[in-house]
């Protein structure tokens, strides 16, 4: 019944997106919530204050640029666009966003309720996470983008070189979202085994975000770290779409990158579903 699940998934996404948008409007809080996230919020900048943090980040980069332009691995304007886009779509790309309900569900053992429902659990959670991130990103991106286009040169964001790039960017972002969600599914599944969420999750999120280029874009990594990072699934998360947008990667390189993203999606989905079914079987046997 693939089409059946397909339409149900579609409905679910629509539902969650609009529900989250509604919640955001009425509650008007950064949806991250929770003490644990206060830990992470500061690291990658706070969405609530549009533009200040990316601005500072760009200042730092420009200081480096002034010192030694030759050593800059990507054009300055590309770096600028990279950072703005990254901040605008934080919710899509960053690993450290966390779904409390799902985590709570697993921790408290209410998993039994979920298994009674007729939908496949993996799909359901996948859609829920993806939709939540999408909704948050949609809400938060416009203020930042507006600021990004209005600041004076050279801090201003530029449009991609041509329409093809823009389309590729959108497609790549979508793939990146899938990679991110698929990877985070692995983290949620591992919760069944560890039951101590805070420490493990922070470590995993921090390392994966670093390797994805959140702290410093991947072109700035020295070899051989750069090549390794680009090949790992983390490189498929934000590195690819952001660099396509800024024009840093073009043509066949871009297509190769997208292929890599698709590769990782397949691998992560496969592993995820395998782990999920194994875990659920164990849960059934042990009683949750």
């Amino acid at each position: 019944m693939p089409s059946c699940t397909g339409s149900i998934i579609y409905e679910k996404i629509l539902c969650t997106v609009s529900h989250t948008l509604y919640k955001q409007f009425t509650v008007s809080r950064c949806g991250i919530g929770g003490i644990g996230n206060a830990v992470c919020v500061g690291v990658y900048g706070n969405i609530g204050f549009f533009g200040v943090l990316p601005h500072k980040s760009i200042s730092a980069f420009s200081a480096f640029y002034r010192t030694n332009p030759a050593a800059f691995p990507m054009e300055f304007s590309q770096t600028v666009s990279y950072i703005w886009m990254q901040q605008a779509f934080l919710a899509l790309f960053m690993m450290w966003f966390w779904e409390h309900d799902i985590a709570a569900l697993i921790m408290e053992g209410s998993i039994a309720y979920e298994m009674v429902r007729p939908l496949d659990l993996y799909n359901r959670w996948f859609c829920q996470i993806a939709a939540n991130r999408l909704a948050r990103a949609v809400l938060r991106c416009s203020p930042i983008l507006i600021v990004a286009f209005l600041v004076p040169e050279p801090y201003r964001m530029t449009l991609p070189p041509n329409a093809a790039h823009l389309l590729l960017f959108i497609f790549s972002s979508f793939l990146a979202l899938c990679v991110v969600v698929a990877f985070s599914m692995l983290m949620y599944i591992s919760l069944f085994y560890t039951l101590s969420p805070m420490g493990m999750r922070i470590i995993a999120a921090v390392i994966s975000d670093f390797l994805a280029g959140a702290t410093v874009p991947l072109p700035f990594f020295p070899e051989p770290f750069r090549t390794i990072a680009e090949l790992l699934p983390f490189g498929a998360m934000q590195n690819m779409p952001l660099r396509i947008y800024s024009g840093n990667i073009a043509g066949t390189d871009a297509l190769a990158g997208i292929a890599l993203q698709i590769f990782w999606i397949i691998v992560l989905l496969f592993i995820g579903r395998l782990m999920m079914s194994r875990t659920l079987k164990k849960v059934i046997v042990q009683g949750g």
Partner: protein
């Protein structure tokens, strides 16, 4: 000695809108509505009294308690407790009162209860001898012996509440505020807590102010009731006075065998189950003896008991009467 005169308190509450469109509008401009929490509230409580403070939710109970604790300042009016104004001299005032919030625990979650107690001893600067005396007495009266070494997270609600009450009494306060202390407790714990509070009031002369929805607490403990509704004190009197005042109605619990007796005019059926009916009647309209005769003629009565109105019914009637 507690005195409140003409206390007024009004809150500005932002209106929360439902619906998407209105939510957006609220985002831009806030609308406020004024909530008159307390309206010319006056009463006084002598040392050693035990008072039940009742009223529906939102009537102003917790606001009054907060003002008496010194956490909240009223808009106007005078409040003096033991010669002090609570919010002006917070630290001195607070040293002499104990508070138990029903839902919010003051005990540390992960460490043994006795550690929490010792920390409280330090916070209140209780001298060691008094602390030991109080602790021993409380341990005996509330049966805390096995509980002291366990952390709060391992205790049941009833056990935790007993420890909470003990914690709030370690510094020998003159006044004890109890906010819904028996909520969620099992029957045995409730009785234990009630007996303890009664003893405390008798032996130590601690003034007790009890907010509760549980009418059995009221019946068991308090001689005096303050009823508050929509920010006004509606009634201030002893429980018996109130019972007499509010209703003459009597409750009959009748047990029978065979067919159920029909009730006649003047009787109101409250409950019926197999072999048992509960009715209330107004003795002025239908005397009790007539009612019993009527029922006896229609069924085989095995047991009849007559009682005055229960506190619960009285309060419900009061609420109805005052439209609160």
């Amino acid at each position: 000695m507690i005195t409140l005169s003409n206390i007024n308190k009004t809150f500005r509450v932002a209106k929360r809108q439902a619906g998407f469109g209105r939510a957006v509008k609220a985002f831009i401009s806030r609308e406020y509505e004024l909530v008159h929490a307390l309206n010319d509230v006056s009463f006084s409580i002598n040392d050693g009294e035990m008072v039940g403070y009742i009223g529906p939710n939102g009537a102003g109970k917790s606001t009054t308690i907060k003002i008496m604790c010194g956490i909240l300042t009223p808009d106007s009016g005078v409040c003096k407790i033991n010669g002090r104004i609570p919010w002006r001299e917070r630290i001195d005032h607070v040293r002499e009162i104990g508070v138990v919030f029903g839902q919010r625990s003051q005990l540390w979650w992960d460490v043994p209860i006795i550690d929490s107690f010792e920390l409280i001893c330090d916070i209140y600067k209780i001298d060691k001898k008094t602390y030991k005396n109080n602790l021993d007495e409380l341990t005996v009266l509330l049966d805390l012996e096995e509980l002291l070494k366990t952390p709060a997270r391992s205790l049941s609600l009833g056990q935790r509440m007993r420890c909470e009450i003990a914690a709030s009494l370690l510094h020998s306060p003159k006044i004890l505020f109890l906010d819904e202390p028996t909520i969620g407790l099992d029957a045995v714990s409730k009785i234990a807590v009630r007996q303890f509070i009664k003893k405390l009031n008798c032996e130590h002369g601690t003034t007790v102010i009890l907010t509760t929805h549980d009418m059995h607490d009221i019946e068991a403990l308090t001689e005096r009731i303050l009823l508050i509704g929509k920010g006004r004190i509606l009634l201030d009197g002893s429980l018996d006075e109130l019972k007499k005042h509010s209703s003459r109605r009597k409750t009959l619990v009748v047990e029978y065998t065979g067919t159920e007796p029909e009730i006649s005019e003047g009787m109101t059926l409250i409950e019926k189950k197999n072999g048992r009916i509960i009715i209330t009647l107004d003795p002025e309209i239908l005397p009790v003896s007539d009612a019993i005769t009527h029922l006896a003629a229609r069924a085989e009565l095995t047991d009849v008991s007559v009682s005055g109105i229960t506190a619960e019914e009285m309060v419900a009637e009061l609420y109805r009467e005052y439209h609160i």
